[in-house]
């Protein structure tokens, strides 16, 4: 309140003379804020909410044609209808199954490769280069070969999702394993730790933060890969629903599909972050 009054006073003084008198500056005691303060919880949603409101408004006054893009309210009604009829649940489950099966397999393979490569020189020599090459090749570019090898069914889709997921898992876990603090290695030697105990008690817990970074990238990657793959020969899944809607010009269903993808991506990321916070709770402890 005082600040507000001070500001008014300052403004008044500025108006009185074009060049503010030196004492005018000392009216405001507040030091300049150099770094932005922290947002209150929930305020982060301001952007998305404002965007949806603006979009709804533009649709309502007719700036955006429903043929071009459905209004959020229309999409919500359509979504509820699809939910009631059970259509949405079926398609959603089909998509989730693909994504999470691919994610699970990809995480397992990525982790095994990272451990083999991060903990042995033979492993690193044989694996690291290959994964780096795989990383440079976009998943989309593998689709033709994958179709020739695995057909156009579920196997191909899950395999491609797994192959795109394993990369971030591998890269981050491997980096964390090779970046083990040399001082911890020395300590382990000075207390006479065996190699097995070193792996269990030092190397793996030390690599856990890297693994979680990889996992957060992986959950987003798996949904991204899914979107592309569900455009190919599917009869169920969110991607299929959206493709069919495109053929009939049902922009409301397309918006529903987009919203589901967004919710799933955000939800997965949130779940991983929650798990990460629990598993790495030791990091939060701070000296008083």
């Amino acid at each position: 309140m005082t600040l507000y009054i001070d500001a008014l006073e300052l403004q008044a003084q500025m108006l009185r003379s074009e060049r503010p008198a030196p004492e005018a500056r000392s009216v405001s005691r507040r030091p300049p804020q150099l770094a932005p303060g922290r947002l209150a919880p929930g305020v982060i949603l301001f952007g998305p909410v404002a965007f949806v409101l603006l979009w709804e408004f533009a649709s309502a006054v007719g700036w955006i044609s429903p043929k071009f893009l459905a209004a959020p309210s229309t999409a919500i009604v359509t979504g509820i209808e699809l939910l009631r009829s059970g259509t949405l649940a079926d398609h959603f489950l089909a998509s989730a199954k693909r994504a999470y099966l691919g994610l699970g397999i990809g995480v397992a393979i990525g982790l095994v490769l990272a451990l083999a490569s991060g903990l042995s020189r033979i492993g690193e020599a044989s694996i690291d280069g290959l994964v780096q090459i795989k990383r440079a090749v976009p998943t989309l570019a593998l689709i033709p070969l994958a179709i020739l090898w695995l057909g156009i069914g579920e196997t191909m889709k899950v395999a491609l999702i797994a192959s795109s997921v394993l990369v971030p898992i591998y890269i981050n876990t491997h980096a964390a394993l090779t970046g083990i603090d040399i001082r911890h290695v020395e300590l382990a030697r000075s207390v006479g730790l065996t190699r097995g105990a070193f792996l269990r008690e030092v190397a793996l817990p030390g690599a856990l933060p890297g693994f979680f970074t990889g996992l957060r990238l992986a959950v987003t990657t798996c949904w991204t890969a899914l979107v592309v793959l569900e455009q190919i020969n599917t009869s169920e899944g969110i991607g299929y629903l959206m493709n069919r809607a495109r053929d009939y010009g049902q922009t409301d269903i397309i918006v529903v599909g987009l919203a589901i993808y967004a919710a799933l991506g955000l939800g997965s990321d949130f779940a991983v972050r929650f798990w990460e916070r629990k598993a790495l709770s030791y990091r939060k402890a701070m000296a008083s």
């Binding site: 020395e186 030092v202 817990p205 790495l280 402890a285 701070m286 000296a287």
Partner: protein, 248 residues
């Protein structure tokens, strides 16, 4: 200037020495960091090793600790297998609790009881389940001390263990270390750059320069050591051996 006595202890140290080094040499990229060091430490002796940066004192400690493989050199060492190292940084594993850190690598059925007892000894009873990140720097170093002592080492190797602590905490740690060492009687090699710390704690002070032991002096002052005339004389001698003239 009157440089302090260069008195190497009479050879040989014999079978009863806790640590025995003969003609120890270590080289980094062709340069001798340790040259021809021969030393004996008696069981239970508290030895302080001082020297300028780069004089080779840490290299000597790491050689005795067995942490210098891959470093070129020769010489023979007789060192007890049950030794433990106290590093300058506490080196606690952040993902292990305080107690888990203390008993880290300790293979004993009663490890946890011994660990808890060691924590009590360093004044940290009740903090067993705390995370290291939640402790102050001095507390972390006390956990590291407990980790070293819980192994009941016959040789304690301390590499500037108090260098990163503030002055008040350091004084407390000195008392704690002296008290615990008196109880358990390990042989101690304390590497430090602090002459006062060396005189205050040790039975014997070594000065190292360019990879050689240039001064080897017993400290016969009675504990607790006040900064009296005897302290001052020894301090001036050691400082001059380090090439520092002390006006104070």
């Amino acid at each position: 200037m009157n440089v302090a006595v260069h008195s190497f202890r009479p050879e040989p140290g014999g079978r009863d020495a806790a640590v025995s080094l003969r003609n120890l040499t270590r080289r980094f990229s062709g340069r001798d960091v340790l040259s021809d060091v021969s030393l004996d430490f008696a069981p239970g002796e508290f030895v302080a090793l001082i020297g300028k940066s780069g004089s080779g004192k840490s290299t000597l400690l790491r050689a005795i600790a067995g942490l210098d493989d891959g470093v070129a050199g020769e010489g023979t060492m007789t060192v007890p297998p049950d030794r433990s190292v106290l590093f300058q940084d506490s080196r606690l594993l952040p993902w292990k609790t305080v107690l888990q850190n203390v008993v880290f690598g300790l293979r004993a059925a009663d490890a946890d009881e011994r660990g808890a007892a060691a924590l009590t000894d360093v004044g940290l009873a009740g903090r067993e389940t705390a995370w290291p990140n939640a402790l102050s720097g001095g507390e972390q170093q006390r956990v590291a001390l407990a980790r070293s002592l819980v192994r009941e080492p016959r040789l304690l190797l301390a590499d500037e263990p108090f260098g990163a602590l503030d002055a008040l905490t350091r004084i407390k740690m000195h008392e704690l270390l002296l008290q615990l060492v008196r109880q358990r009687q390990p042989t101690v090699l304390l590497v430090t750059h602090d002459v006062d710390e060396a005189i205050k704690l040790a039975d014997r002070v070594l000065v190292m320069e360019a990879g050689r032991i240039v001064v080897d002096r017993p400290v016969t002052l009675a504990h607790p050591r006040a900064k009296d005339a005897g302290f001052g004389t020894l301090r001036a001698d050691l400082l001059s051996a380090l090439g520092v003239s002390d006006a104070a």
